[in-house]
């Protein structure tokens, strides 16, 4: 059958076609708005393209009615970087904790899962109410930061579970037998091994915060982050400026994704090369 012979069965071609169509379905619409964002000044919201220009990108940053886009970027990017940092540190630490038994492990796990699946808007309402009742003004660097972490930490924790379930404990035992302290074992053995997973957590931390709208809604306070500006534009701007904003924000996401995935790929290929070199050396020695 299929899995053993060299000839591919007919199901392969059917499923390959399904997969190809799915990829077109995923990327096609996005590609359309990137193309449409380069329209001429008289362009509209749909095809055909009415000339090509960078007019709408300029309009994005210089027109009054599109709102404070530059300011939104200047808040969203630092916020995403803070969320990334805290998500990496807190999930790594919690991931280490969950490798041992401790009282409350089950409870914290279920709270994390609940935090992952509770509607973001409901959380936004709760956080907004809390700050209101305590008379603390909500800001992007306080309430929104916390609301974003309640969303990124469960993701980070689940990724750390997956990473640690594959980590062989004998490396740490070997380090300890050779006299390494707990801190040295963590710093020089565990972290280098799980580094690709940590980069994965960082990628989730950044992108989930950078694009988060529902949890930001009542928590950012008077100054909007980028997704709130985008939301405001979807409801009242009917020009390609909206698409231009989509192109700019997605370009930033893509840069982050490429940096993260390339560094993971580099680490992995370096490891493969080292392993092959080691195996060769062993063969030569025997």
């Amino acid at each position: 059958m299929a899995y053993m012979t060299d000839r591919r069965p007919w199901t392969f071609y059917v499923l390959a076609a399904v997969f190809a169509l799915f990829v077109v379905f995923l990327y096609g619409p996005m590609a359309c708005i990137y193309i449409l964002s380069f329209q001429g000044p008289n362009g509209g919201l749909t095809f055909p393209l009415n000339g090509t220009s960078l007019y709408w990108f300029g309009a994005l940053f210089h027109q009054q009615r599109t709102g404070d886009i530059a300011g939104a970027f200047a808040r969203s990017i630092p916020l995403a970087i803070i969320v990334l940092t805290l998500t990496v540190v807190f999930s790594l630490a919690a991931g280490l904790a969950f490798r041992r038994r401790f009282i409350g492990a089950g409870l914290i796990f279920y709270i994390a899962i609940a935090s992952l699946i509770v509607p973001g808007l409901v959380l936004s309402v709760g956080t907004g109410l809390g700050f209101q009742l305590l008379d603390i003004p909500p800001r992007w660097y306080s309430s929104a930061l916390g609301a974003h972490l309640s969303w990124t930490l469960p993701f980070g924790l689940l990724i750390m579970f997956a990473v640690f379930s594959r980590l062989n404990r004998s490396y740490e035992e070997a380090a300890r037998d050779l006299g390494a302290t707990t801190w040295q074992t963590l710093r020089h053995v565990v972290i280098p091994i799980v580094l690709p997973g940590i980069i994965g957590v960082a990628l989730f931390g950044f992108t989930l915060s950078y694009d988060e709208f529902p949890r930001s809604w009542l928590t950012v306070g008077p100054y909007n982050t980028l997704p709130l500006e985008i939301w405001a534009m979807t409801t009242n701007i009917t020009s390609p400026a909206l698409y231009a904003l989509g192109t700019v924000t997605t370009a930033i996401s893509f840069v982050v994704i490429v940096v993260a995935l390339t560094s993971i790929a580099l680490i992995q290929s370096q490891r493969t090369r080292r392993r092959i070199a080691r195996e060769r050396a062993m063969q030569a020695g025997s």
Binding site: M1, A2, Y3, P9, T11, L15, A16, V18, F19, F22, V23, L26, P29, M30, C32, I33, L36, L45, T46, F47, S91, A93, A94, A97, F102, I108, F109, S115, I117, V118, P119, L121, V122, L123, V125, L129, A147, L149, S150, L158, F161, S165, T181, T182, L203, T207, D211, F213, P227, W231, T234, T235, L242, L245, G246, T249, T250, S253, I257, L261
Partner: protein, 288 residues
């Protein structure tokens, strides 16, 4: 330097930052919603007196039931579509792509859009589905219709397309993860034992992918039930969802009734999720 921390305290210290953040920014906000659902309110704001009015109003308004029906309808349709699509995409990657590196690469190709803005991905359907959008122009040019089809955009159809576009990934990843762990020799054994393609699928692959299917289903159903902006934009105001009614109430500063409908929604979602979780112990599968 030697830290004087007893070994037993270490896991508590390690988990503390995460636990504190979840307490402050998840448990307490949820408690706030619960408490506020029993408060009274008027045009100027919240009045801190106990009342059951919000729940009584909610449960006696006939539109509440319709709203839940609408939300559950979308959840079920999207669940069915993403399950079939996600299952076959995952199956293709796990069993038909022979080079595991290429399989991971193709999986990443499906994952990249997840790391970009949901709102932007949603609005990218507008130039395609609109009255003079790409699809209508194509249909007109091919002579299939003689005037633009109206139900493509600002309709239930558009809402479902956007949901499937945004959420299928949440099916693919967990199902792929389960399938990647299936020992290929089990499939060979089934084939040697005389099972045909269909029986391999129903008696080997589907049972062993159960965890992934369960997790994916929880993700998709809770995402659809928690959504408001896809329904709001893509239905053009023709459909609504429970969370959208929360959104509109809060926009009018009617916090207590918004909180009451959020509490009812959370109870229903929790019931659905615990029903699904009875089927399989997800935690054992994730940590083990």
């Amino acid at each position: 330097m030697k830290l004087a921390v007893p070994a037993k305290a270490v896991p508590y210290l390690e988990v503390a930052p995460l636990a504190i953040v979840l307490l402050l920014f998840f448990v307490i906000p949820m408690a706030m919603v619960f408490v506020a659902s029993f408060f009274d309110y008027n045009m100027t704001g919240i009045i801190k007196t106990f009342t059951l009015h919000n729940y009584i109003d909610l449960l006696t308004t006939p539109t509440t039931f319709d709203l839940y029906l609408e939300t559950v309808k979308f959840a079920l349709i999207v669940w069915a579509v993403t399950l079939v699509l996600g299952f076959f995409v995952a199956y293709f990657l796990a069993f038909h792509v022979r080079n595991p590196l290429i399989a991971i690469g193709l999986l990443l190709l499906c994952t990249v859009p997840f790391w970009t803005s949901n709102i932007i991905r949603m609005i990218s359907w507008i130039p395609l589905l609109g009255k003079y959008g790409v699809f209508n122009r194509a249909l007109l040019a091919l002579g299939i219709v003689d005037k633009p089809v109206q139900w493509l955009l600002f309709s239930d159809f558009a809402v479902i397309v956007a949901y499937v576009h945004l959420f299928t990934l949440f099916m693919i990843v967990p199902i792929f993860n389960s399938m990647a762990r299936i020992d290929k020799s089990l499939v060979e054994a089934a084939v040697d034992g005389g099972a045909n393609r269909f029986r391999v699928m129903t008696e080997v692959i589907i049972p062993l992918s159960k965890t992934g299917i369960t997790l994916g289903s929880i993700f998709v159903i809770t995402l659809v039930m928690g959504d408001f902006f896809v329904v709001k934009i893509m239905s053009g105001g023709r459909s609504a969802s429970v969370v959208m009614s929360v959104f509109e109430d809060v926009n009018l500063l009617f916090y207590p009734p918004a909180a009451a409908s959020a509490v009812v929604l959370l109870i229903i979602v929790t019931l659905i999720v615990s029903f699904i979780l009875r089927v399989v112990d997800v935690r054992k599968e994730l940590t083990g």
